[in-house]
């Protein structure tokens, strides 16, 4: 596989991990370690003065590339506001752009995502937009300067796997920027499927964080992604219409 490079940064691990919903900071830290990931996502929220959130105290901002998201944004203006605050807090220009006005399925608003992406790219952000698996939108987001595209497999946290396969294939075929399959991956096999299809990386959060044993599940996702990468490097065979015997067709008993 060609190396994964986003905005000039080489990433060895093709498994990106979200940091939400873990049972404890300790489990989060162990899970990240077990995943072998280099890129993690975080969210930005008002500080709770009476009960500060301890979760991220365990994250080493020097070890991981910490990419804030704009979750909670319902339109372009809110996303841009969150991105500017995130840049101020992290000192980094990376942003996972999410505009999700629909509270039930958390599907991304394509119009406002594109609008916000255009503004943020002009302001110097490295923009990774969460989007529906729409090949035309992927081209438009790439056209305004997004550093990667993040099409969904199925709704966020749904664990339904890759339900957008036909359209993901087109995005992967056409994209000039890395394609990161985000959202809906519930099992390691879903992650392996995405990589085997040619996706450059996957982002997983809920499937790891909410598993009975997040550390073990995190490792399982690592194995799946590594396995898919190895398979691609090994050169998969083509699919055939008919059977092709594995055993010799000579020397049968009479």
């Amino acid at each position: 596989m060609k190396p994964l490079i986003i905005a000039g940064r080489r990433l060895k691990s093709r498994l990106f991990v979200g940091t939400g919903k873990y049972p404890s900071p300790h489990v989060l830290a162990e899970s990240l370690d077990a995943s072998g990931c280099e890129l993690v996502t975080v969210a930005l929220r008002r500080v709770n003065f009476s009960e500060p959130d301890p979760t991220l105290s365990v994250i080493d901002f020097k070890k991981y590339l910490v990419v804030p998201n704009t979750s909670g944004a319902k339109n372009a203006d809110e996303a841009v506001r969150l991105a500017r605050l995130s840049r101020s807090a992290s000192g980094l220009t990376w942003i996972k752009l999410e505009v999700t006005p629909d509270p039930v399925y958390l599907l991304p608003d394509p119009v406002d995502t594109l609008k916000a992406a255009e503004i943020l790219v002009k302001e110097g952000f490295i923009v990774l937009p969460y989007m529906h698996a729409d090949p035309t939108l992927a081209k438009r987001l790439e056209g305004v300067g997004c550093a990667a595209v993040m099409p969904l497999g199925s709704p966020i946290g749904s664990a339904r796997g890759i339900k957008t396969e036909e359209f993901l294939r087109i995005i992967i075929e056409q994209a000039q920027v890395p394609v990161i399959v985000d959202a809906g991956l519930g099992l390691p096999s879903h992650a392996a499927q995405a990589i085997e299809m040619g996706a450059d990386a996957v982002l997983v959060n809920t499937a790891i964080a909410v598993a009975k044993d997040p550390v073990k599940m995190s490792h399982a996702f690592k194995l799946a992604v590594d396995s898919a990468v190895a398979a691609l490097e090994a050169g998969p065979i083509d699919q055939q219409e008919c059977a092709s015997a594995s055993s010799p067709l000579t020397g049968f008993l009479e």
């Binding site: 979200g18 500080v47 991220l56 979750s71 807090a89």
Partner: protein, 67 residues
């Protein structure tokens, strides 16, 4: 002193001079905090040089776990 911080009115028992003092008042570490003063993002390098006055609206945000 009266400030609206994170959507809530706060009557403070002392006068604060700048954004840095507001963070200290609410025990918020400066590292990886971001502040909006009346809807403008404050440069973290200028927290202790950006004055606050009565009635200001301040948002103090930081990172939490997210996907």
């Amino acid at each position: 002193m009266k400030l609206r911080v994170n959507g809530q009115e706060h009557i403070l028992d002392k006068q604060l001079a700048n954004v840095g003092q507001v963070l200290d008042y609410f025990s918020v570490p400066w590292v990886r905090a971001a502040v909006e003063l009346n809807e403008d993002v404050v440069d973290p390098g200028l927290f202790d040089k950006t004055p606050v006055t009565d009635g200001d609206q301040i948002e103090i945000v930081s990172f939490v776990g997210g996907g």
